[in-house]
Every structure is written in C-alpha cells, then in structure tokens.
Amino acid sequence: MSRDVNQLVDHLFRREAGKMVAVLTRAFGFDHLQVAEDAMQEALLKAVRTWGLGGVPRDPSAWLMRVAKNRALDIVRRETNFRRKEKELVAFLEQRSASAPDNYQFDEEIRDDQLRLIFACCHPELPREAQVALTLKSLCGFGEREIAAAFLASGAAIAKRLVRARQRIREKEITLEIPAGPELASRLDGVWQTLYLLFNEGYKASHGDDLVRKELCDEAIRLTEILAEHPAGDQPKTHALLALMLLNAARLPARADAEGNMLLLAEQDRSLWDSAMIARGLAHLNRSAAGEEVSEFHLQAGISACHCAAPNYAATDWSRILYLYDMLIEVNQSPVVALNRAVAISHLKGPKAALAAIAAISPRDVLEGYYLYYAVLAHLHYMTDDIAQAAVGFSRALELTDLTSEQVFLRRRLAECKARMAREGRAELRA
C-alpha cells in the first residue's frame, strides 16, 4: 500500500476525462471523438480496478494520461481505419507521452488542445443545444444521464442528440483549430453564446438538481478562463462574460438557507458570498473595459458588480442598477430584462411605478409561463397593500415552479398574505 489514506480531489476523474479527450481528439481528429472517449473511459476503468487495491499513484493525472495514450496506441495499431495514418498518429502520441508531465509547456499544450475542442464543439454548423451537450460530454466529462439531469431531458434524448452531432461533425468536416483572421470574430461569438447558455443553465433556479447546476456554473467558468487566457480569446467581451459569471456565481452560496430554501437578496447573509471570486470577477470587469464596445455581458456584469459592492441590502446602488438596465434594454429588448428593470424601479420610485413599468412591457405573453413574473407582481401588490392580488400572484407562481426551494419560499409568502388578510378581516369586523 502506497498510502494509509487514499482520497481523490473532487471531480478529478471528470476533469481528467476532459483533458484526455482533448489531447486524444487532437491525435485522432474531431471526426473520431468517440475513439478518444473510449480510450479515456478505459483509462478511468483501469484506475478504478487498480487504485482501490493498490492505492493512488503519486501523480494520478499523469498516470491516467499515460494509460489513455497507450490505449489509444493499441487502437491505432488494431483498427484498419487508422492504418493509413498510423505512422503519424504513433509519432504524435509518443511525442506527447515523452513530454514531462509536470512541465509547464505540457500544461499549456493541454490548454490549447482544450481550446481547439471548445471552438470545435461550439461550431456554428452544429445546433446550439448540440453544442452545449457536446461541450459537457467531451470537455467536461459529463455522462449522458448527468447532461440529461441538467437539461430536464431523458438520457436517451441526450444520447440521440450526441449521435446526431457526431454525424454532423463528419458531414460538415468540422476540424479542430483555433480560428484566426476574419473568421475568429464570428467563431468567438458562437463560443461566448454557448458558454453563456451553459452558465445560465446552471445559474437560473428553474429546475433540476442544485449540485448539478452549481457544477454547470463551475464548468462554464473554467472553460471561459481557458478562453480568456489564450491570445485568441483574450478580448474585452470574453472578460465581460467571465466577470458576469464570477460575480453571479460568487453569490450562489447565500442564495438558499441551510434547509435549501431560497432567500431573497435582502435576506441573504452576505458574509457567505465568495469574496475571492468577487475579486476575480471585478478584475475581469476591469479588463473588459479595454475596448469601445459595451456588450450585454458588460452590462450584466456591471449590474452584478453593484450587488457585490453593497455591504448590505440597504446600501445597494439602485440608481446605477436602473441606469445599467436602461442600457441593457436598449441592447436586448427581452421581457425578462424588462421585468428585472421593473424591480430596480420599485426600489427607486416605489411599487406603483414598477407595476406601471410591467404593464408597459410588450410583448408580455412570453412572461406568462414564467413563475418569477407572478412572484414579482405579487410582491409589488403586497407592497401596495393589495394583499388579495398578491395572494393570487403567489399562488399562480407556485403552480409554475417545480423547484422545491422556490415552492417553499412561495408558500411562505402566500401564508403571509393569508395571515394578513385574516388579521385585516377581523379588524374590519370589529370596526
């Protein structure tokens, strides 16, 4: 036994899976993603079968990468598909194996491999939802069931989506490359959108398992960091995207109480906010100001920074937040943005002005399936002492969410309404 206590870093297998696939895909080509995934899978399998009895090797990452490469070499020698490219492949894999696993250049090579894979997975020829699934599978080491859990889909549906994506990769001959020149701008845009979607899927509290959602946020941040560190991706908008992710994710630990019940911003214990993450977010927000462009990411990050900067709820700079929302609505006329803007208005001009702003949202029908729309309306009615309307809103919101933490929160608010109505009813009788 090499050690008394064996323990692995959290998510080590998943993280290493992503690295192995990135490196091996570079050898086999993006059109043979499956081969890279098989070799990765076998390396992890071998680890489980030997580390349990034999202990964890000194450098688990290097061990896994070595086994995966050897497995890949076996595949190259065995499969006739690769016979034509055999010499080239063997040379590539052996050269990569020869690199000292601890050296910096090697890490840099892996990061470049991962970046190539990010660009390939987010290729405009692939449908957006396939891009996200592919990114999670190949770069983040997520299983099909885990992807399904994050997207409220069935494992079979995700498997089908991945099969189709792989087909499309072959048909469209999508290759691994870090785009350059005039192509870079449009390709970067696709990557930003997909990473943003990935983050939002984890961040938005609409469905699914809390743990999986947090992991999606972490993965989105990790991949965006890889992008931001590379000259091709080191652009103001990348930093704005990263800032918005970090500044929002930093506040996740305070979003629910010990029982997992959702808390309002006003009720959150701000000492639980991740101050190191906020500092990183602010640093990237700074770097995002380098260019001329004020993108939606810049504005969203700016709004989040306002919340992060406030030592307590009362100190929130709502006028700056409203200013940023006014700009945001210029860039993105989404009803959801308008709804959030109304919340800022309520803090500055009162609930009646906010209700008027909501009444002016057009089109409003897209909000009507959205629990938060009714929750905000109900809250504003409550503040104007229209308790009966508030109760209607909270009940409607309750019907529209299937997340337990939100249901608990909404039930609490509904109970408050009922208690107040009962109190006021008694007072009326007495009068």
């Binding site: 079968r49 349990g52 034999g54």
Partner: protein, 125 residues
C-alpha cells in the same frame, strides 16, 4: 489476534460493467473502494493486497510447455486483484466482503480460507 483469527484470501473478478458510467460515477465507486479498504485497515483485518495487470500466461502440459495467454482473454472473468484479510471464521470473512464496491458493477469476490500449516509443521519438528 493470531490465536483466534484466521487468514482469508479475497479474489476479485470482473466488475467491468462500466459502459453506462460517467467519470463522476466512476470516481464515486473509487471513493467507495477507498472507504471499504480504509475500514478493513482500521479494524485490523487488512494484511496485504494488490491489483493485477491485465493479461499473463498460463502453462499446462507435462513440462509446462504448453504456454497460452491467460485463460480469460475476454476480461470479464479475469482476476483483477487479491486481498489477504484476517477474520474470525469463514462467515465473518464473507460478511466483511459484502461491503466491497465491486458488486455495484457486477463483479464477484471469491472468499477462500487459507490453510494454516504452522501447527502441523511444528508438530513434525
């Protein structure tokens, strides 16, 4: 312990039903192995153990001159490793083996009591 405890050999086979498992699930299984092994060690049952590499040779025939690659080329039933433990009796050793995470992946554990020859050897001496 040696007066009341006997030695047993655990032989691990298979446990390769992994096709559907994600890296995260594999890591959880790995953690379960560590926890089980740590428990055996803490309670003083652990004596020795090692994983085996894949493949090998099998010798047969009069002079061992018929040499083949391992009997389980398929890998499914291949012995993946062994463990030497101490336990009160076979029932106890069997009970201890039930905690092995290999069962989550359709593997098996063979529990064999080790023949204690020391008493007989000293009697002859």
């Amino acid at each position: 312990m040696s007066t009341t405890a006997n030695s047993f050999l655990y032989i691990f086979r298979g446990g390769a039903d992994w096709n559907q498992m994600s890296p995260e699930e594999m890591q959880r299984n790995m953690d379960a192995w560590f926890a089980w092994m740590d428990d055996l060690r803490k309670k003083g049952h652990f004596k020795a153990g090692e994983p085996l590499q894949d493949g090998g040779k099998v010798l047969r025939g009069k002079n061992g001159d018929s040499v083949t690659d391992g009997p389980y080329a398929e890998g499914k039933e291949e012995v993946g490793g062994y463990l030497l433990v101490t336990a009160r009796d076979l029932d106890h050793a069997t009970e201890l083996a039930k905690g092995c995470p290999i069962f989550q992946n359709n593997g098996s554990v063979e529990v064999r009591p080790i023949q204690d020859m020391s008493a007989e050897r000293s009697a002859r001496a």
